[in-house]
Subunit: 580 residues, 2 copies
Amino acid sequence: MAIHQHVLNLVELCVRKGLRQAIISPGSRSAPLTLALARHPEMTTRAVADERSAGFIALGMAQQLRQPVIVVCTSGSAVYNLAPAVAEAYFQEIPLLILTADRPKDWTHQQDGQTIYQTEIFGKHVKRSFELPADFIHADARWFAERVTNEAVDLARTEPRGPVHINIPLREPLYPTGEETFQYGPVRVIEQVTAAPALAPETWHQIQQEWETAERKLIAIGQGPHDPALLAILKKMSDEWRIPVVGDAISNLPRNDEFGTQLDVFLGGTDEEMNKELVPDLLITCGQSFLSKQFKLFLRNHQPRSHWQIQPHNRLADPFQSLTRLIPYEPAAFFEKLFSDIDYQRFVSNDDDDSDDHFQENWRALDRKATRLVSQFLKDDAVFHEWAVIQRILDALPVESQLHVANSMPVRYVNLSGLAEQQQVEVFANRGTSGIDGCLSTAVGAALTTDKVVTALIGDVAFFYDRNALWNSLVPPNLRIIVLNNHGGNIFRIIDGPSRQPELDAYFETAQPLSAENTAKDANLVYTNVFSYGELKTALADFFTTGDSAKMLEIQTDRRVNAEQFQRYKQLVQDTFRGI
Amino acid sequence: MAIHQHVLNLVELCVRKGLRQAIISPGSRSAPLTLALARHPEMTTRAVADERSAGFIALGMAQQLRQPVIVVCTSGSAVYNLAPAVAEAYFQEIPLLILTADRPKDWTHQQDGQTIYQTEIFGKHVKRSFELPADFIHADARWFAERVTNEAVDLARTEPRGPVHINIPLREPLYPTGEETFQYGPVRVIEQVTAAPALAPETWHQIQQEWETAERKLIAIGQGPHDPALLAILKKMSDEWRIPVVGDAISNLPRNDEFGTQLDVFLGGTDEEMNKELVPDLLITCGQSFLSKQFKLFLRNHQPRSHWQIQPHNRLADPFQSLTRLIPYEPAAFFEKLFSDIDYQRFVSNDDDDSDDHFQENWRALDRKATRLVSQFLKDDAVFHEWAVIQRILDALPVESQLHVANSMPVRYVNLSGLAEQQQVEVFANRGTSGIDGCLSTAVGAALTTDKVVTALIGDVAFFYDRNALWNSLVPPNLRIIVLNNHGGNIFRIIDGPSRQPELDAYFETAQPLSAENTAKDANLVYTNVFSYGELKTALADFFTTGDSAKMLEIQTDRRVNAEQFQRYKQLVQDTFRGI
C-alpha cells in the first residue's frame, strides 16, 4: 500500500467516473496528487506554472468537454490564484474538480511555509467544498474519502454544473521511496443515476393556457453553446407560429433572416412609441446571461406580463426583474413538447393561432434595418478603427471554427456585429464574472480539446493581464490570437461616464505602451503586426491556414479614433431608429 | 453634496487618520472611489492594471511605511485577484486597507456583469471584513459608514497588523456630472489611543525567576525589519551575559562575531551528541517566522524546558512545538527591562550570573566554522553555479540598500550566506505565505517608498509568474532586478523527494525556456545578460550606480550544475560537522 493510498484511490475513482484530464501546477505538498495523476495510464496530465492561468486553461477545457477537468495546486497562496477561474466557472456553470493540497490542519497559522486557511476558501463560488482528513487509521476515514470523491465528481456535473473543491491535507513523507509501486484502488464507485426534471400534466396544462392567452410572445436566448436541437425547434416556432426569437452573439444564435441578433443596435435608438410595440405579453428565456445592455434596459423598463425562464435546474436569477415562472426543464425538450402539445390541441379543437403577426414583423424589420446600418457603417474604409477591423476578422473566420471573445470591448463589438449563419462559428466568452483575467487562458484550454481553429479575439489590457496563458509548453498550433491593441482600456473612453472625467487617461483608460510582439516571440508564435485595412487583408489571407505553431495577429488602432467612430455609430443609430 | 458623499467622507477620514497612499486598479464600478482618492489633494494615487500585482505593490509600500496603504479595485473577479496579496499581508502582518467596489447586493448572482459574492470574500485572511450599505437615506447608515471607516483604519495598524477589508456596494450613477464639485467631509475622527501591553510586577517576578533558574538560555529572532534598539540590547545580553543570539537572514540579524546566523548550515551536519550540547533550557524568541528548516527540526526534536515568545500581541503560534509562555510585549522593551531588572537584582543580592559559559561558545564556534565553510565553498570559481553567483551579488550590494529576496531558492541561498554587518543591508521576503506570486511586485512597491537602492533577487519561475509587476508606469529608477535564470523550478531538483521521481522534469521542475530579456525591454529596463563569473564581475561594477531607469541583470545557470554543487555542499557539511 502506498503512503498516500487514499490519493491513488481518489484518482482511480475520478477515472472510473470518466474524468480524463488534469491541469497540474508544480508544488511539493501536492506531490502525492501530481504523481498519482501523472502515473495513471488513463489520465492526461499537463503542467502550468501560474495557477491563475492554470485554472482558466482547465476551465476552457471543461467548457468544451462538458465534463469536470481536474485542477491540482499546492498549498498556500497558490490556491488563491485559482480563485478567479473558480468564480468564473461557478457563474458560467462549468464543471471543475479543484484538488488543493494542504498542510495538515494542525499546522495552520503556525508560521510554517505555504500554509493558509484553505478550508472552504472559495466561499460561495464552489458548489461545495469538501475536506479530507490527514490520517486514515480509522476505516471510517477511508469510507469518508471514497464517498466524498464519488459525490464531488457527480456534483460538479449535475445541473447547475460548476466547480467543486476537495481540500486535501497531506502529511510527510510526500514522495514515495524507490521501491514503492502504485496500486490504484480497489474503489467503490457509487453511480449517480441521471434524472431529468419532469412536469406534472396539470403544470403543462397551465403552461399551455398561459401560452394561448398571450398575444405577443417573445423568445430570448441567453448565453450558451451551439445547440442544434434548440435551434431547430426555435426555427419551427418562428416559421410556423411567427414568434420572434432573439439573442446575443454569445447565445450562438446565428445572424440570419430567422433570428433577431441585432437588438443591441436598434434598442439603442428606438423611441418610447416603438418600444411599446415591442413589449411582449409573454417573454420566454433560456440559457445563461445576456450581453446586450440595451435589451436588459428595454425589458426592465417595459415589463412583460409574464416571463418564463426554462433551464435544467432551480437556481433563480431574474436579470430583467420580470420573472414570473421558473420552469426546470431542458430548453430544447421544453419547446418541442410545448409545440407538439399545442399543435395537437389546436388540431383537436380546430383552433387558430391568435398570435399578433405584426409583432414578429416589428422585431424582424428592426433587425434587418440594424444589420444594414452596421454593415454600411463598417464597410466605410476611410478611417481605420477597431470595430471595422473586427468585422473584417469575423468575415474571415474559418467555417466551423471557434471564436473566444475577450471582455470588455471585443465581446461588445462582436455582439453588435453578430455572426453570419453560413460561417457556423461557435462563440464563447467568459461572461460568468465578465472579467478580463483569464480570457486568453480559456482559449488555450479550449484549443487543447479540439482540432478546429480556435481564435482568441482580445484587447491589449486583457492580453497582457493574462499573458502567462502563453507561458507553458501547451499552446497548440490550432490557436490563433488576435490582439486588438489600442494601448489602453479603451472601453472607458467609449462608455459615457469616465470619458467625461479629467482622470480618464491616468486612472481609467490607463495607457500602456506595449506591443504584444515580444510576448509572441517568447511563446514562439508566428507574429504579424497590422496598422491598416490593406495590411489586415494581406495578413488575414493566410492567418487561419494550418501551421506548425500558433499564430498571433496584432492590430494597432488609435483609441481616440475608435471612440470617435463609436460616437459616430451611436449618432447613426439615433438618426435611424428615432421616430420610425 | 456629491452623489457618493459617503465615499468622499471615507477618503477624508483615511486622510485625517494619516493614510496618504493608494494603489488603484481601473474599473467602472469603483469609479466613485477612484475619483474621491485621485481628487483628494493629500492623497498620492497610482494606477496598476493587474490586481494581483497591484495588491503586492501596495503590500511592498505598506511593509516600508508601516502604515496601511489603500488598495482599490472594481467589482467581480478583480477582487479575487487581490487575494494572494491579502493572504501574504495577513500572515506577514502588514497593514492594508482593501476597498472593493461592489454592485448593490440586490444584484448578486443575477447574471449581471462583474458580480460575485464579495461579502467576507477573503475569509480568515483579513483581520475583519466590513460592508457598507448601498443606500444612505437613514442617518444611521451615515453613522455606520463613518464608524466603520474609523475602526477599519485603526484595526489595520493595531498589533498584529494586517489587512482590513471594506466592501462598498455602489449604485449608479457612478460618475459625477460636470457641475458637481467634491466637498470632502465634514467627518468625525474617532481617535484610538495607542496602548502598550503592561505586565504586572508579579509576572515580571516570575519571568525573572524562570530566567535565573535556566542555565542555558538561547535567544532566537524570527523574521522582522532592521530594529536598532533590539539589536543593541541583544548585543549587550550577548556580551555581558554570554547568551547566544541567533536568527536568519530575514531576521535582519547581521552576520558578525556577535550573532549566530549560520544555523541552517551547521545544524544540517551536527550529530546527536553535539545537538544535545546545543539544546537550551530556556528558549526566548521574538519576531515572525523562521526560515531555517534545520533550526525548526532541531528544536522540534530537542525541546527546551521552557520557551517564551515575546511579541506585541496575543496571537499564538508554536512553530517549534515547544512554547510555554506567550509574553505580549514589545521585544526590545522587554529585553531592556529584563536586563535592567536582573542586573539590579544581582547587584542588590550580590549574585553572579550562573549561566553556562560554554553554551554560547558552542553556538559561536559552530557559527564561525559554518561561515568559513560557506566562504571557502563559494570562493571556488571552477564551476559557475547559482549560490556562488548570489554570494558575489551579496558582496556587491550597496551599503544601506534594501534586498528583497524571492521564494523559493533565492531566500534559502541568501539565508545560508547571511549578510555581513558592515553592508547594513535590510532584507525582506514574503514569508507570510512563502508564495512566489508577488515577490517582484513587492519590491516595486518598496522601491516607491525610498530613495535607497532596492534589489530584487528572484528566480525565473517567480519572475515570470509576477512579470506584470513591470507592466505599469511606476517602476522607479532605484529598482535593481536580478533574475537567476536556471530555466525551471530548480528547488525541486535540489530538495530530496522530487529529485528522485521520474516526473521531476515534467511536473516539478517544469523547464521553461524564456530569458527575461524581452520582458526587460518591454519595461524599458537597462538589461545585462551574464553567463560567467567574469561577466558577472564586469556587470556588477556599475549595476548599482544611479541611473535614469531601473536595471535588470539576468544570470543564466545550469540547473543540473546548481543541484550538483548543492549536493557537494551538503556533503561538505556532513564531513565538517559530523562527529565534532
